[in-house]
């Protein structure tokens, strides 16, 4: 995720201090991974240098977290552009799991076992996410659902591969 664009986007509704930006980011998007203050400062100084934000005031007491930042017109255009640009879908073509399955078949190990343990590992993560979703608010639900759908996609591939192991074994043996 682009931290710069996200912080910039948060500034669009009004100027904020460094500490306030960090808090808003953590609350809305940080979840498991809150920002370090260092990340906030380095990002803000880059945005300043590029003219996307300006310093709008400094609170007494000093320290970079006391600076109040405001977005510039160039900053608004930048956010606009970022939002309008579709994300490139991940390609998922380099699959470690596929490699493991083929190597297992090549070396006459049990590829079914590998798929079973992977399913089990995926389900473990999915249980944690499901539980968090159950007890969380709407934001938690949406974030967990995103992860759950991706894990589910992996598992569907895994079931399909399990069903085709005999064919794959024949192909690999050639």
């Amino acid at each position: 995720m682009s931290i710069g664009h996200t912080l910039l986007g948060l500034l669009e509704s009004g100027p904020r201090h460094g500490y306030d930006l960090k808090r808003a980011f953590d609350e809305k998007f940080g979840h498991d991974r809150p920002l370090h203050y260092g990340q906030v400062y380095s990002t803000m100084s880059r945005l300043l240098k590029n003219g996307l934000v300006e310093v709008d005031g400094i609170e007494a007491g000093g320290g970079p977290e006391r600076k109040r930042y405001a977005i510039t017109d160039a900053g608004i255009t930048d956010v606009e552009h970022w939002l309008a640009t579709p994300e490139k879908p991940a390609e998922y073509l380099q699959s470690t799991l596929y490699t493991k399955v083929v190597l297992a078949l090549l070396t006459h190990r049990d590829a079914g076992d590998i798929l079973d343990s992977q399913r089990s590992e995926h389900l473990r993560s999915m249980r944690i996410l499901t539980d968090r979703k159950r007890h969380g608010d709407l934001a938690d639900q949406l974030i967990c659902d995103h992860a759950l759908f991706h894990l589910e996609a992996d598992l569907r591939w895994l079931e399909l591969t399990a069903a085709r192991l005999d064919k794959l074994r024949a192909v690999v043996a050639k």
């Binding site: 079914g112 079973d116 343990s117 399913r119 089990s120 995926h122 389900l123 999915m126 249980r127 996410l129 499901t130 159950r134 759950l148 894990l151 589910e152 598992l155 569907r156 079931e159 399990a162 069903a163």
Partner: protein, 229 residues
Amino acid sequence: MNAPAGSLLTAEGLRKAYGPTVALDGADFSIHPGEVVAVMGPSGSGKSTLLHCLAGIVPPDAGSIMYAGRELATMNDAERSALRRSEFGFVFQFGQLVPELTCVENVALPLRLNGTSRKEAERTALDWMGRLEVDDLAGKRPGEVSGGQGQRVAVARALVTGPRVLFADEPTGALDSLNGERVMELLTDAARSTNAAVVLVTHEARVAAYSDREIVVRDGKSRDMERAV
């Protein structure tokens, strides 16, 4: 057979063939009170057959099934069907509600069959329908409610007798993912609140994620993933 300590329902070495087709080929299973166990595996691997054997619906050709310290095979048909009526609850892919009865009459039915008075049965039925958030459908017939609502009514019916084991075979198979998850949430909450064990057959990972652990059935053999690691 040595049932694992504290387990409510345990099976060992189950075999079942339908003519030349071997549906179960040495399957094991065990579940504790309050536990939700997902039974996963490819189509035709023997999941439903395992569930039917565990529930005493289908007799295995070989192997043993212990429920609460009793071997199912030593019971006669009347005892087994009494067990199914009073200790077990069932939910299948299609709710299998009686179309001529209203929803509350459907939910009350298992209690009525056990000899509970109509008034008492419907009071308990309404209570369960409330827990599954379908009490407002009490007077409707199954044909007049949506698939997701009907499935919640079916879950209420399965739980109305306070079963110690709930058997669910693809309970969300006919629902979209939002409805399916709501059914799973309510089903597992309700089962946990009564400490019922749930045997959940599903091929959907998102549904299995509501379980505490999973077993995988392949070619009639089961694999307990928890014990495997």
